[in-house]
Amino acid sequence: MIRITGGKVYDPANGIDGEVKDICIDDNGRIVESIDGGRTIDATGMIVFPGGVDVHTHVAGGAINFARAMTPEDHRRTQAFIRTKTRRSGLGGMAPTTFATGYLYAGMGFTTVNEAAVPVLSARHTHEELADIPIVDKASLTLMANNEIMLDQMQAGEYERAKNVVAWYIWAAKSYGVKAVNPGGVAAWKWGEDAKQLTSPIEGYSNLTPGKIVTQLAQICDDLKLPHPMHLHCNNLGAPGNVSTTIDTLKHLEGHRAHIAHSQYHAYGGDDWDSICSQTGQLAEYFNTHPHITTDAGAVLFGDTVTITADGPWQHLLYKLTGRKWGNLDVENETGCGIVPYTYRPSNLVNAVQWASGLELLLLIKNPWQVFLSTDHPNGGCFWRYPEIIKLLMCADFRKECLEQLPDKIKGKILLPEIDREYTLYEIATSMSAGPAKALGLTKKGSLGVGCDADVVIYEEDPTDIARTFAHPRYVLKAGEVVIEEGDIREAPDGQEFLVKPHMAADTDEFMQPRFEDCYTMQFENYPVELERIERKDLQELPAE
């Protein structure tokens, strides 16, 4: 039992904005009305947040593990977590090891993460890695938008079948929902092509367009009653002028719930790399008038990182542009992924536009319940740099200083210099915790309400440096256990995984088996991840319609 007393509490889920109140935690790791006895943590003069929730990150699975192998030079220079008698060692950096991933997230007060891209074939592998990420709770999303068995059903107009296929895959992968990447484009990339127009049929299909895939998949996610709506990585990522594709995609989503991933990468105007400019105004306006759609920023921070996405065409372009290392991994029948180490530089005009665009979206979308903190780790920057973004959001003066590093020709290409908005602590708590938890449908996360998981962060305000405040919480509690205290990792307990079991037609197995055997190289029976492999889980069975 723990009582946190005297702290200013920011709990947007319950409308609490800086009120001094006690938070009580029982022995089951839940927040309760009151307790008798137990430890008291004096948080007088400090601020109390619900634990952070990362709605979109890449921390486990084949792709990030590929990136680890490609960047030994980064591991050599990064933060090392030293082995203790009870705690495993690890390395931070651009693609941290699993153990370090847990330490780093918890170390800045994040207690729940969503691994946003899992090919079903590597789901078993991803769960093994997730199990090795300590402290935080985890969810994962299955990559669907280029799955050929599903696309065939959509092409044939068999919506119900397509829906069952999606449900079957979610359950086979033991995941929490659906991620759609570059719908139709990855399938085309396997032939070295891309899908850039929402209304032209994709390579290999007669009438199936990316637009139709987007609409139907969003409908499927709604009909399956997934707690998290379709999580969409739009077509045409990173390309000048792609904002029109993005808006067009959003229009295909009218009437559906959806979460748009890393919208910074989808908010550009211009015709080429020289004329690229920010079009975040347009995109933010769309969000401001469509409150049922959420997004995460996918903000870019200057410095080294490794880009890794299921968007193979974009990766090949980056490889050609940078001449650096390139890894690419295509997965049968499902998806592909590419990996390129990259350095974002303020002197580079394109990078400067990207940097500004991410912040602009966070500042121009008015409702923090709609736009969340993310860097699309590791693509725009490493997740452990989130405190830098918080500082940029909270201090207009600091933004102005940073703007001075940008090249002169940036003038007129970005909106950031004209924006004065500064996030309040309440808005930060919304954008990094309450909002993403709600979008993910995790009802016990992102809230300090009675009955919620006692994931609590206590920061000591450092008025001279907000980034420092958020990078070094005084205490972090995970399920009521003090895991970080005075900057040290005290405990590294295992977190749990969130899974859903969607409803599907009884004959789905029989339907899937012959199609499966047609395109995969492993046995149908050996393919689904066994439920008992996931040791600590929170399983939600979804009702039929």
């Binding site: 490609m70 960047t71 030994p72 030079e73 980064d74 050599r76 650096r324």
Partner: protein, 270 residues
């Protein structure tokens, strides 16, 4: 006065001793130096368990003994000198920024790896990856000079960006692999795959080389820069032939597979 280190106890397993560096010991007393931590395998022990130390700290160090298992000596040194009497282990002078290292004996692998500047002179033989990049890094040595009187192992100067490596004896395979700049002088030639995948830079060999197929054989010549370069090398007591009456250099350009703009000059005595 130099600080003198004598190995008194032969390490059983590798001894990682990056504290044996002028930058670390310069301002320390003898007693403090003795207490510096070295890693005998995984055991963290005081330096004095393995070394007798004479004198207080200075920027000049002398090491004596069979130091084959002693690694990381003079890591990232920026000043002074290190003189080794005996054989020395891996990573000698890796990341070195300035100063001078002399080895009167043999050196192991990765000497001067990713060094930025300074001079390393090995009077015996060296191992592989001299002045090379560590795994995954884009660039090996960025400047400075490494002289090996004897032979060297695999991947000499791998991905080097600038600076000079001079080998008195032969090099093994992949000398100048993925080289990006700088100069390698081979007085006794090399085994195979010299200059493989090189982008830029120069390899000068005084003995015939077995060339990679992806180098184009161009003209024979005596470039004037060699004249200047030969004079530059005289400070290290290296004689590079350049007089037209003594012979000429055959020039190979490559590696075409990259395609790169490196050159390999092979001396053809008259």
């Amino acid at each position: 006065m130099s600080t003198v280190f004598r190995l008194k106890e032969q390490p059983n397993v590798p001894l990682e001793a990056e504290v044996l560096c002028p930058d670390t010991i310069a301002d320390l007393s003898n007693a403090e130096i003795r207490q510096l931590t070295v890693f005998h395998g995984k055991r963290q022990v005081p330096l004095e368990d393995f070394f007798d130390v004479e004198g207080d700290g200075s920027v000049d160090m002398e090491l004596h003994g069979d130091l084959k298992k002693v690694r990381w000596v003079a890591r990232a040194m920026t000043k002074g000198s290190v003189t080794v009497h005996g054989d020395i282990g891996m990573h000698l002078g890796a990341y070195m920024k300035n100063g001078r290292i002399d080895v009167h004996g043999d050196a192991s692998d990765w000497i001067g790896a990713e060094m930025k500047n300074g001079l390393i002179h090995v009077h015996g033989n060296a191992g592989g990856q001299v002045g090379a990049a560590y795994r995954g890094d884009m660039q090996g040595m960025k400047n400075g000079t490494i002289i090996i009187d004897g032979s060297a192992g695999l991947e000499v100067g791998m991905r080097m960006r600038r600076g000079t490596i001079i080998l008195g004896g032969p090099a093994r395979d992949f000398c100048g692999l993925e080289m990006k700049g700088g100069t390698i002088v081979l007085r006794e030639g090399a085994e195979i795959r010299t200059g493989a995948w090189m982008r830029r830079g120069t390899i000068i060999s005084l003995k015939p080389l077995q060339m990679m197929p992806t180098f184009a054989d161009s003209n024979e010549f005596n470039p004037t820069f060699l004249n200047v370069y030969a004079k530059h090398l005289q400070q290290y007591n290296i004689d590079l032939p350049f007089a037209a009456d003594a012979g000429s250099y055959q020039r190979f350009a490559g590696d075409l597979s990259v395609p790169g703009k490196g050159e390999i000059l092979v001396w053809n005595p008259a």
